[in-house]
């Protein structure tokens, strides 16, 4: 069956080493086509009758793309229309080497059955392997290998019988030389553009084509606008001898001609280099890794405070940008000057597809248009499309293909349309994309690791697992929750003590380390909750079914069981994998009702009462130790069940049962953290909350002082205590406001690996050690913690990555990033729904409090909606009133009136829709009346007003 020939491959690396490798060439690699009778393959990927109608090729055919086609046109290949494609191993290897994200996308496509993609291992095939000839470059060899494989396929398929005549293969390449050589050897070969354009009935595919190199020339004039980028070798030399600096490019949000490059130094020595002017920015795009050269000291400038938007019609490439640039240089005060530099080269592009809208060209029928991204830090992109009319008013995605030196804007191509702007679905997509939240449907590769339904508990599953089905376990969650990951029980033991158990869904039983589902979950990091939508971390079958601890079904759990006495002192802690059968899934309100209703005496209710009693004691203990109770207003939308429009806004109410569940979750997390840290001091995944530096508290202290209240910030406990006693007569909301301010002073809590850090303290919870264990359905960190704990109690086996602190540390960095982004996305979603709400409600007058005072504005919080807004005193088109800012107060005097923190104001809220991409809530002052600034209260229906004032 196997003939092996020994070949010798020589690789010279650095001119010293000679690596000799064997290479076995096989004759048992099959072609993967259904029509083939020669190959003894078990399964086939390529269809007998590939139907892809094209003007160029009217016969049935398979497609073989070369590496560059895959790299540049992956958007097209992903389309459902493109099927029956042969991916050669040469191509796969080159793609893998050149771009990891595209490689992953390609692999996802190959896994998808309906796409009929087949990977042909041509490099190991006896007839398609070729050796590099003397003088031939590696690229040329690979091109030749692709041609040889294509040739082999066309010969091979000729032999097999088919009803519609012999099948053919079509090679797609954009390389002129390659194409010519392929034609010479009698292959069917087309350029990717030609081929896609020839497809009948799929005109929209054409727009998704990326621009290739030779197309770019005719788009732009020949005048060189930008300095040439240096080659990588010169950049590296420059970085080594210190003439260049490497850093991340961060464009300014407000000024398109200004940016900073963040240069990561050793330890704390990170610096920022200012870049000003189009020439100096030199085609860098936000987040690129660039090399900068510092300008001589006398050319240093200060960052300008001017707001400049790259607006208006497309500028011609040769039009002078001079005026706007001159405007920048005016404000160069000597002292404020910062290190300034210019970009000399790009080390790594970090382009992703951008969301935004099309500015249709003024010329009718033109196919070239400018695209304005939603993110202001991204330059406008020139794209070519024939469907501009259809795309106007739509949110679209565009990918950048390149930025030649004679083009004012980068060139890109249309990827897909997200829907019309302002539409709920569309906006949701936009904010997910802009916050880098992975939200595509799970790939076939991922889904293949799901358990098969109907799923049931088998004896193998019961190994190392305790049977707790008889316990009266119940869960308490917010209403409408389908991913229930925790359940509780409490019962009296014979010795008079209580046994309390927290049962967490055993997600790690279903998600095994290292498989595609695990990798996907690790990448997603967290489930993202938006208003009315949830983006799952794990497929729905797990999140809402098999792992959800619903009532009256048997579910696998990971249990943490304590023996506790009636003073809530923990006597014993034990962890075990288990099977439970929840007796009831309650909402917070239902649970509260059961506890309060003295007539109910069933098991579940008794359970709840016991838990509630213990929770109260636990909470007291915790607060005594100095745990903070901070405040932030969370809002909940009442959403219309049909239109899904928000119809009312309500701040979330907290009940006793909320804190009951929370208390036990904290307890479980702390117990588990201790256990895994004891067992794995080097690689436990923990969560810490660093104490904020004292300077963070300045705002809080000043604000409190203005009301003659003393706040101590020496320790968490001092802070908690002083917050508790901080009250002002006749101002009941003061304490909440103070807590909101205190929340803003805090640091972010982060995941970390215990082997990489020494400070474990959780400041907010006043716990020396903490981790996340209780929500494995929606947080990946919990899955890792589950695995660690399972190994610790010998219920599961370990794997190398789990014990590798570098890998753990890298993972926690990703989790922290995803966590942060999901919060931003969540906030953006709330903001969007708030806008929708105010759009439907029209103009409203509301009472609010001044939360911060800024140089030219006050920030007002409206407790009723938990909404924060800025009232500016120097809007562009109005006469600027006299404004005096006092930093010590802090207070702001506008004309005659002085604003302090906590002042009560009346504002009118309206929706500012002047910029369709950036709609925002606008607030203006009604009370106190400041001439020239405040506006008179607009009329609104009086009926709605009354209950609002009652609050």
């Amino acid at each position: 069956m196997l003939k092996s020939k020994t070949f010798v491959k020589k690789t010279r690396s650095g001119g010293v080493m000679k690596i000799v490798r064997e290479h076995y060439l096989r004759d048992d690699i099959w072609c993967g086509s259904e029509v083939c009778t020669e190959c003894k393959q078990e399964s086939t990927a390529l269809q007998r009758d590939p139907c892809l109608e094209s003007n160029l090729c009217s016969y049935p055919h398979y497609v073989i793309p070369d590496t560059n086609v895959v790299l540049h046109q992956i958007d097209v290949l992903e389309d459902q229309v493109i099927r029956n494609v042969i991916i050669l191993q040469t191509v796969l290897a080159e793609v893998r080497h050149r771009s990891a994200p595209i490689y992953k996308r390609l692999k996802d496509i190959v896994h998808e059955k309906e796409k009929n993609f087949y990977t042909f291992t041509n490099e190991h095939h006896r007839e398609t392997f070729i050796e590099r000839e003397p003088g031939e470059s590696a690229n040329d060899r690979n091109d030749r290998a692709i041609r040889v494989a294509a040739k082999w396929y066309s010969e091979h398929l000729k032999k097999s019988e088919s009803d519609t005549g012999p099948l053919k293969v079509v090679l797609l390449t954009n390389d002129q030389g390659n194409k010519q050589k392929a034609e010479e050897s009698g292959l069917l070969v087309y350029k990717c553009e030609e081929y896609i354009k020839s497809l009948i009935g799929n005109p929209e595919l054409v727009d998704r084509l990326a621009l290739s190199n030779d197309d770019k020339n005719d788009i732009t004039s020949s005048k060189v606008l930008f300095p040439e980028h240096l080659p990588l070798s010169r950049i590296q030399a420059g970085l080594k001898n210190g003439t260049f600096l490497q850093g991340t490019f961060r464009a300014s949000r407000d000024n398109y001609l200004e940016a900073t490059v963040f240069v990561q130094g050793e330890g704390e020595e990170s610096t920022e280099v200012l870049i000003q002017g189009l020439q100096n920015l030199n085609r860098s795009v936000y987040q690129d890794v660039v090399a900068v050269q510092l300008l001589p000291r006398d050319q240093w400038v200060a960052p300008s405070s001017v707001v400049l938007q790259d607006e208006g019609a497309a500028k011609d490439d040769n039009e002078e940008e001079g005026e706007e640039e001159k405007e920048l240089r005016v404000s160069a005060a000597e002292a404020a000057r910062k290190p300034t530099g210019r970009v000399v080269g790009i080390i790594k592009r970090n382009w992703r597809p951008f969301c935004g809208m099309l500015n249709a060209s003024i010329i009718k029928g033109s196919t070239r248009h400018l695209f304005t991204p939603a993110d202001r830090r991204i330059p406008r992109i020139r794209i070519e499309t024939r469907q501009a009319d259809a795309l106007a008013g739509q949110r679209i995605m565009v990918a950048i293909d390149g930025w030649p030196k004679h083009s004012r804007y980068p060139n890109g191509h249309f990827v897909r349309s997200l829907g019309s702007a302002g539409d709920k679905e569309t906006e949701q997509q936009v904010l997910l994309l802009e916050h880098d939240v992975p939200h595509q449907a799970f790939s076939q590769a991922v889904l293949s690791f799901l358990p098969t339904m109907p799923w049931e508990i088998t004896p193998e599953v019961m190994v190392n697992r305790e049977d707790l089905r008889s316990l009266t376990v119940c869960s308490v969650d917010p209403p409408g929750c389908t991913d229930i990951d925790d359940a509780l029980h409490c019962r009296e033991l014979d010795n008079g003590n209580l046994e309390v158990g927290v049962h967490i869904a055993d997600v790690s039983h279903f998600i095994r380390p290292g498989n595609a589902m695990d990798k996907e979950a690790a990448n997603r990091g967290t489930t993202v909750y938006l208003c009315g939508k949830r983006i799952d971390m794990v497929p729905e079958l797990l999140s809402s079914n098999l792992c959800s601890l619903r009532s009256n079904v048997e579910r696998l759990a990971f249990s943490c069981i304590w023996e506790i006495n009636h003073e809530a002192e923990i006597l014993k802690t034990r962890f075990t994998k288990s099977v439970i059968k929840s007796k009831a899934s309650l909402t917070y309100a239902e649970a509260q009702m059961r506890i309060d209703d003295t007539t109910q005496t069933d098991d579940v209710t008794k359970n709840l009462r016991g838990l509630n009693k213990l929770a109260k004691i636990l909470k007291k203990h915790r607060i005594l130790k100095g745990a903070l109770t901070l405040s932030s207003i969370e809002v909940r939308f009442h959403i219309d069940s049909e239109t899904h429009d928000p119809i009312d806004l309500q701040t979330k109410e907290l009940m006793e049962t909320n804190s009951m569940v929370e208390e036990f979750m904290l307890l479980a997390n702390i117990s588990v953290a201790q256990k895994i840290f004891d067992e794995f001091p080097d690689c436990a995944l923990l969560r810490k909350h660093p104490a904020p530096p004292p300077s963070n508290y300045d705002i809080l202290l000043k604000a409190a002082k203005s009301k003659a209240v003393e706040i101590h910030t020496d320790s968490a406990k001092a802070l908690a205590d002083s917050l508790d006693v901080a009250r002002v007569d006749g101002f009941p909301y003061f304490n909440t406001l103070l807590r909101i301010l205190a929340t803003r002073c805090m640091m972010q809590a982060v995941y970390f690996c215990s082997g990489m850090d020494s400070d474990f303290h959780h400041y907010g919870l006043a716990s020396p050690i903490y981790t996340h264990f209780t929500s494995p359905i929606r947080r990946y960190a919990d899955i890792i913690v589950h695995r660690l704990l399972a190994v610790a109690i010998a219920a599961d086996k370990t794997y190398p990555d789990l014990m590798d602190k570098q890998k753990q540390s890298a993972l926690s960095n990703n989790l922290n990033y995803r966590h942060k982004m999901s919060q931003y996305a969540q906030r953006a979603s709330v903001a969007f729904h708030t806008q929708l709400f105010f759009k439907s409600r029209g103009i409203l007058n509301e009472e609010g409090f001044v939360l911060f005072v800024r140089k030219n504005a006050i920030i007002v919080l409206i407790p009723k909606f938990g909404l924060e807004g800025t009232v500016f005193f120097d809007s562009k088109n109005k006469v600027v009133p006299k404004v005096v800012f006092d930093e010590e107060g802090p207070s702001l005097t506008v004309e005659q009136h002085t604003f302090h923190i906590f002042d009560r104001v009346m504002v009118t809220i309206s929706l500012d829709a002047s910029n369709i991409q950036h709609q925002k809530i606008r607030m203006s002052l009604i009370e106190p009346v400041v001439p020239g600034v405040s506006v008179s209260a607009p009329e609104i229906e009086p009926l709605a007003k009354k209950p609002r004032l009652d609050r």
Binding site: I19, R26, T121, H124
Partner: protein, 265 residues
């Protein structure tokens, strides 16, 4: 000397860098390894017995690109310290060495460095388990093995070559001793690792087997591996060793045929 050491580390570093950049894919989705083999396939064997006339037994073996020469002297009287004499059996003396030109970078390899001493010891243990030493009391058997070209699985190739040499010397053994190096990648055991695979972050295991009885003569592993995977890995190693034994058996039979034909004339 210092220069040599430095160069070696530089080479190693370069290799690591190369690995990190390319991130070698040891087993592709289609199930092929770097050199085109499937997971359970062995490399190509080429062997010759009786390559030297002066020695009592000798063999040359190629397993892929790993090439080894084994020579056996004895049994003869014990040389050197008389305290080494065993009254009930023969002592086995093994010496392992690598040719200066056996690796990608030419390097002087003095006798008695740690690696080769360890390897000698392993070989000694392996053959003490296989050779019927009790037949030759108060005597000594010398086995010298040299790696001429190294491409992974040095220990296994040495054992296989030495087995052929011992058979060539006509010393009775309980069974062929067959050895194979296996590794564990993506939940799949790989048989007969080559150099690129050994260096590619695989936990590798070397196993020497007496195939007929299924007894293990030596098992050596110094990498991290979860114990649950161990059984699967050993199973794969045993299967591979049995494959090796078939090949060796063929070589011996062929050699016997060739050797017996001229003498019959």
């Amino acid at each position: 000397m210092g220069n040599v050491v430095q160069r070696q580390t530089r080479g190693a570093l370069r290799f690591q860098l190369f690995r990190k950049m390319a991130g070698l894919e040891l087993l592709s989705d289609q199930g092929y390894r770097l050199d085109g083999r499937k997971a359970t396939e062995l490399r190509k064997f080429q062997a010759r017995m009786g390559v030297f006339a002066q020695a009592d037994g000798s063999a040359y073996l190629e397993q892929g690109n790993t090439k080894a020469l084994a020579v056996v002297y004895g049994p003869h009287e014990v040389r050197g310290a008389r305290s080494r004499i065993r009254h009930d059996r023969a002592v086995i003396n093994c010496q392992y060495s690598m040719a200066t030109f056996s690796t990608a970078e030419r390097k002087r390899r003095p006798h008695g460095d740690r690696k080769s001493t360890e390897m000698s010891l392993h070989l000694k243990q392996t053959f003490e388990a296989a050779v019927m030493t009790q037949l030759y009391p108060r005597s000594q058997i010398d086995i010298y093995v040299k790696i001429l070209q190294s491409d992974g699985g040095n220990y296994s190739v040495c054992v296989n070559a030495a087995t052929l040499a011992v058979i060539d010397a006509g010393i009775p053994m309980r069974d062929y001793v067959c050895a194979c190096t296996v590794g564990f990648v993506d939940e799949t055991p790989l048989a007969d690792l080559c150099y690129a695979e050994e260096g590619g972050g695989v936990s590798s295991l070397a196993l020497a087997l007496l195939p007929r009885g299924g007894q293990i003569a030596l098992l050596q592993m110094d990498a991290r591996l979860h114990q649950d995977h161990l059984e699967a890995l050993i199973e794969a190693a045993m299967t591979a060793c049995k494959g090796v034994s078939k090949v060796l058996d063929q070589v011996v039979r062929q050699h016997l045929q060739e050797a017996s034909v001229p003498s019959a004339e």
